[in-house]
């Protein structure tokens, strides 16, 4: 890539920022200065100060505490959706590439169809039909979310299947499941992980979007998206209410994406090196 030193510095910075945010959010109940629901009605929409580092919202709740608490839902949801879509997509992609024939055709065409559906509209509908909450939200993000993983897994599994050692394993009588788990999946791990980090950023934004629209997390629980929506009417008096949660989503998504881009590039280089050897 362009400049190795710049890249490594950027990656380290991204990793450091991410580590700080994840640790802070995970340790929220212990390190948050206030309870997320605690109201200080005398100090509503307070600007950042020594008592409330980021100020307070329209109900006098401490923004920093709410930010730390809200991050749990946003990040857990995005992680769950990433893992689910990655596993589902990989399974579909590998099945396509191994079985070929009508199954491959069917899965690839379904993939095309889902790819053409606007993600947000599908999510809106599922949430509308099934109600809000962790489960429906997860399904809403998964229905369209598995497609990029399936595409990548299918292409990679096709390539790996054509290599000599897979043929050799088949000839000596290894069962198909053994070939998939021992020979195919390990080769897919690095690129799929890269793809997962890239998707995580987008899913984090989508989770926030649904919560922002009031279709994700429901009160009293809050997340970064719903905090942003709640603070918007008071944006002029207390801009920190929208700056902080948005910046949190942006920073986490950006850091993960940066790391993901690096990981994908590294996986590709390694794969090319192996292929040329």
């Amino acid at each position: 890539m362009c400049n190795v030193r710049t890249r490594i510095t950027a990656d380290r910075a991204a990793l450091a920022v991410l580590a700080v945010v994840v640790l802070a959010v995970a340790a929220a109940p212990w390190i948050a200065p206030y309870a997320p629901e605690a109201q200080d009605l005398a100090r509503r929409l307070a600007p950042p100060g020594p008592e409330h580092w980021l100020g307070t919202d329209h109900l006098g709740r401490d923004l920093l505490s709410r930010l730390l608490d809200g991050g749990r839902f946003s990040m857990l949801m995005a992680v769950a959706a990433t893992v689910l879509t990655a596993v589902l997509g990989t399974a579909v992609g590998v099945a396509s590439a191994r079985r070929r024939g009508w199954l491959d055709e069917f899965l690839t065409r379904s993939n095309d169809v889902l790819l053409a559906l606007p993600e947000m509209v599908v999510a809106l509908f599922i949430v509308a039909a099934m109600g809000t909450g962790f489960g429906p939200l997860l399904i809403a993000l998964t229905v369209t979310g598995w497609t990029p993983f399936a595409r990548l897994a299918r292409t990679l599994a096709y390539d790996v299947s054509a290599r000599g050692f897979v043929e050799a394993a088949r000839v000596v009588g290894c069962p198909p499941s053994f070939i998939v788990f021992r020979h195919i999946l390990p080769h897919l791990a690095a690129p799929m992980l890269g793809q997962a980090t890239l998707r995580f950023g987008q899913l984090l934004i989508s989770v926030g979007a649904l919560s922002y629209l009031g279709l994700g997390v429901q009160p009293p629980q809050s997340d970064w998206g719903s905090m942003l929506a709640a603070a918007q009417p008071y944006a002029e008096r207390a801009p920190m209410g929208i700056i902080a949660p948005g910046l949190a989503i942006f920073l986490v998504a950006l850091c993960v994406t940066l790391i993901g881009q690096h990981a994908t590039a590294a996986a590709r280089t390694k794969q090319e090196a192996v292929a040329h050897a």
Partner: protein
């Protein structure tokens, strides 16, 4: 080529049928009596009398097999009868079409701006590949991918509508009301477009005929204008179509924030108000258009570059 067209058309038809069947089922899978919900979308009001419900259901053929009902529904849908909205009590088609027009103009302005921004940025980055200009352009535009629209939009409103008071914060009245929503919507595609222009230009720059042109003594500017840019822009064309299709239903957030009366807003309202006929109409129109545009773009791409097309099948 014929086989390719046949396959893609089959996918298109399948997508439209599948999604239309899914939305047709909404009255049946949501809580409540499906017959009453369907009658409501026909007469624009609640019928209280049970015997009237019975006879209306009979005359609408709601006792028929589901598949027969679906075909009948699909037939009237595509002849322009999408039922009556629960909320406005007016024909859905009269709401969908103006909304579609608004979204198309919003998306066109946004993508136009994204292209105008990404062309010079991508070209500049490609021409100075690996140097400081390239690194800055790439880093900044890539960070746009991580920018949530629902954050950027309130910030732009805060700055341009509240602090500077130069642009309206919401609504859809005159030309100035398109600026903020279009700018918000343009950011993410601009990021992808810049990357596409950059990599397309880098590929085009390393082509042998470019080297030959330079060797013949053609100036750098002329070479770039005549030989690099036309070839380097091909990836952008496909990407543009994909984004156009995606944003038809993907501008929900931006339209809700800026109160733009487009498709995204319509679908959001339909979902929030449980306005089943409006949702059905909106979804089928958006999906049919989106799938149609991407399919058409595939055909064009395949025609323009047979080599790339072979990989698409």
């Amino acid at each position: 080529m014929l086989k390719f067209i046949a396959r893609r058309t089959a996918t298109l038809v399948a997508a439209v049928l599948l999604s239309s069947f899914a939305v047709f089922l909404i009255p049946y899978v949501t809580p409540g009596d499906p017959v009453r919900k369907i009658i409501r979308s026909r007469v624009a009001g609640d019928v209280v009398d049970e015997s009237v419900v019975q006879s209306l259901g009979q005359s609408l053929g709601l006792q028929d097999a589901l598949f027969v009902q679906y075909l009948r529904w699909l037939g009237s849908f595509f002849s322009g009868d999408m039922g009556l909205s629960y909320v406005s009590r007016t024909p859905v088609v009269e709401q969908v079409m103006p909304a579609l027009g608004v979204t198309v103009s919003l998306v066109t302005v946004a993508l136009g701006a994204a292209v105008l921004a990404s062309l010079p940025l991508g070209t500049a980055a490609a021409l100075r590949q690996g140097r400081r200009t390239d690194r800055w352009i790439t880093a900044v535009t890539q960070s746009f991918i991580a920018m949530p629209e629902y954050w950027l939009a309130p910030m732009l409103v805060l700055l341009f509508a509240l602090k500077l008071a130069v642009l309206p914060s919401a609504g859809w009245n005159d030309a100035s009301s398109v600026v903020l929503p279009a700018a918000t919507l343009a950011l993410r595609p601009a990021s992808y477009f810049t990357a596409a222009v950059r990599s397309g230009m880098i590929d085009a720059l390393s082509a042998e005929h470019v080297f030959a042109a330079r060797a013949r003594g053609l100036g750098r500017t002329r070479t770039v204008l005549d030989h690099v840019i036309p070839n380097g822009l091909l990836p952008l064309a496909t990407l543009l179509a994909v984004w156009f299709a995606g944003l038809l239903g993907g501008s929900v957030i931006v339209e809700v924030i800026f109160a733009v009366p487009g498709m995204g807003r319509l679908l959001y309202d339909a979902v929030v108000n449980s306005d089943i006929p409006l949702a059905q109409g909106g979804v089928v129109v958006v999906v049919a258009l989106a799938v149609g545009i991407t399919t058409l773009a595939d055909f064009v791409h395949r025609l323009l570059s047979p080599k790339a097309g072979a990989a698409l099948v």
